[in-house]
Amino acid sequence: MHPSRRNPGADASSNFSGAVVLELIVISTLNGILFGMLLFLMASGLTVIFSMLGVLNFAHASFYMLGAFFGFQTSRWLGFWPALLIAPLLAGAIGAGVERFGLRRVHRNGHVAELLFTFGLAFVIEEVVQIIWGKSPVDFRIPPSLDFSAFTIFSTNYPAYKMFMLLVSIAIFVGLLVVLKKTRIGLIVQAALTHPHMVAHLGHNVGRIFMLVFGVGTALAAVAGVIAGPALVTQSNMAGLLGPILFVVVVVGGLGSLSGAFVASLLIGLVQTFAVSMNGSLSGAFGPLGPAYAATWLSDIWGVTIAQIAPIVPYVLLVLILIFRPMGLLGTRDT
């Protein structure tokens, strides 16, 4: 699910020589930033949609999955580069349709109904993807033009495709920043982040802005899907795996805070990537001191490696944030 699973440095940590540790740190940092940027591609759309429409789009990760599968299908017919454009457009159009014909209708039944609608949608999208592409992973390959190693650090060849992923996500991040800060529509979106009612009072066509924002947000998630699809596993459960982490990101960053989502994306990307690449365990650290009972009923906790607990790290972070800072890192709004 996350890029670092294929990190060649992960196996090397048993041999703690200086170069290996340094290599591990460099590679994991690169992978962590990459994963964090991918998360932010999705979290940014989710945050803007939440701020404007007041609904947390439960199906956001499903659009990421749709992007990956549309990308897979289009790249088979037309090649990878057209797919990078067509798949997000298609997913964005579906997203806009969902807002126009679904969410807008549910809106009068309140926020719970909206959240439940997107929940049901996520369920249905997963079923449809399973029906069309099956349950097993599809063969979504890295395009040959990017299938080489970009550079070599110490002994690790860093694939060019990962650098491409990083560049695309940074480019979109910068583009998003420019649009938000410099254009008229960006200013309206920004205003709606803090004063959604005021924007409506000023006479903007709120319905069309909502549809646009929803479409662009889902298209961004689909971009993440297309570029992540070949590097990770493109499978019908990818939305279910990534969705919860995405929600952790937006809650940890603070619901409705774009900069919070950015910080939290990078934080979780880095923390999880580093956790995956570490092999230490309690028994490894305190081995000689191991009390007798540690080998019996505590053996799970005693013997588990940090890499094994990596999947739960984001959730532990969530609970800790909730205890010490219930609003989230940079959040200001209570919902």
Binding site: G102, F117, V124, V250, V251, S299, I312, Y315, L322, T335
Partner: protein, 433 residues
């Protein structure tokens, strides 16, 4: 406004009302006793047991969603932990020959659910609304992922199993046959339903409703909404634990699926489809969804898709659920204007059913080509056989789908008019709507 304070307490129920109220529960008990006499086959007893478990679970969920306004995506955590603890408890009791009979074992599950709700609830209920939903999801993922790591206790992918017949026997019941399990589940269902109904009548139950409707005002009255939410969460965890315990006893196994997101989603579906606005709603939903999931899976390969579509349809068109739909007609029935809407329903039913038939036909045809492309094209769905390869079937599904939709849209407008007429007439007759 000063009159309000003078009449704080509602009038005490009259003897007739009391009688009617208690006879309802007695009737329910008698019905539960007699049910196996009418439908005695093994499979129907299993279905009834599953329904009972689902009723307790859905009602416990509705303490959160319907009564306190907290949308949880992780209620299965307390269900699952209750189940796991009970399996371990049965094993320990059986191995040490402790004097504990099976009928009180579900209480262990309930207490487990309560303990974990006490532990996790304080953090979870700090926020309400969307944030609570996300937190419940995060906590659920935390527990579900931890369950796969702590293999000794949770048994990894395979789960842990137990033998329920090795416990202390009461009156010669060893709880091997399904009929005895049915009675165990039925008794616990009745107890839990009564307890949860009683909970809604307590001051706490009323404060839960207040927190759902206007938390700020609750604060002004002098209550802490967080505490009220926390208490509701603990009660919900307790009853979810009982449901999980009964499920574990029924299957004699507990595995990681008990804790997972799918289980949390199922209880959410059942509760919401049944209707969260009424106490009876989750009961209706539990019965409906259990029958649906058992029945649909025999009829079609992609029943989960239909399940999701039904849920979306309920969210879109009937936010009150099945119970809400029926309860909408109560004022009309009282005013005697129900007959004004029924004909329009019948007319609207025809094109709507045609549209649905077209949808099903299209879905099943697509499924034939994507899921089993090599198979014989003469497929059977919902008991009806047809040839998925013939263009006439494609044409028919398209005509039914599009034509049905266009015709149905007109009849829905008509239903709306008839509805407005009937309600305004009922209002004129003095029946509040």
């Amino acid at each position: 406004m000063s009159d309000v304070a003078a009449t704080v307490a509602p009038p005490l129920p009259t003897a007739a009302e009391k009688l009617r109220f208690f006879s309802l529960w007695v009737l329910a008990a008698v019905a539960l006793l007699l049910l196996p006499q009418i439908f005695g086959s093994g499979s129907s007893l299993t279905t009834f047991s599953l329904i009972g478990i689902s009723i307790i679970f859905s009602l416990s969920y509705n303490i959160l969603l319907g009564q306190t306004g907290m949308l949880s995506f992780g209620h299965a955590v307390y269900y699952g932990l209750g189940g796991f603890l009970v399996i371990h408890a049965i094993n320990i009791i059986g191995a040490n020959k402790l004097p504990v009979p099976l009928p009180i074992v579900p209480l262990i599950g309930g207490i487990t659910g309560l303990l974990f709700a006490v532990l996790l609830g304080w953090v979870s209920t700090q926020r309400s609304g969307t944030a609570f939903a996300m937190i419940s999801l995060g906590v659920a993922e935390l527990i579900a992922s931890s369950a796969l790591i702590l293999r000794t206790f949770f048994g990894g992918e395979a789960g842990v199993s137990a033998n329920r017949t090795k416990l202390l026997k009461l009156f010669g019941w060893n709880f091997g046959p399904q009929i005895q399990i049915y009675y165990l589940v039925a008794a616990w269902t009745l107890i839990a339903v009564i307890a949860m109904y009683a909970l809604t009548r307590t001051p706490l139950g009323r404060m839960c409703n207040a927190v759902r409707d206007n938390p700020e005002r609750v604060q002004f009255v002098g209550y802490n909404p967080h505490t009220v939410r926390y208490l509701a969460f603990c009660f919900a965890g307790f009853f979810a634990g009982i449901a999980g315990a009964l499920a574990a006893i029924n299957f004699e196994i507990a595995n990681s699926a008990y804790l997972g997101a799918a289980q949390s989603g199922t209880v959410l579906f059942a509760t919401y489809i049944g209707g969260i606005g009424f106490f009876i709603g989750p009961i209706v939903g539990a019965i409906f969804v259990t029958f649906l999931s058992l029945g649909l899976s025999d009829l079609t390969q992609v029943w989960q898709l239909y399940f999701g579509l039904i849920f979306i349809a309920v969210v879109l068109f009937a936010p009150g659920g099945i119970t809400g739909l029926f309860m909408m007609h109560r004022p009309l029935l009282k005013a005697g204007t129900l007959l004004r809407v029924l004909p329009s329903y019948l007319v609207a039913l025809v094109p709507t059913l045609a549209m649905l038939a077209g949808l099903v036909l299209a879905v099943e045809t697509i499924v034939h080509y994507t899921v089993n492309p090599g198979d014989d094209s003469h497929i059977k769905a919902f008991g009806v056989g047809f040839d998925a390869a013939s263009p006439s079937v494609w044409a028919m599904s398209l005509v039914l789908l599009i034509g049905g939709f266009l015709a149905a849209r007109r009849t829905w407008v008509w239903v709306g008019h008839a509805w407005n007429d009937a309600t305004s007439l009922a209002r004129e007759k003095g029946v509040a709507t």
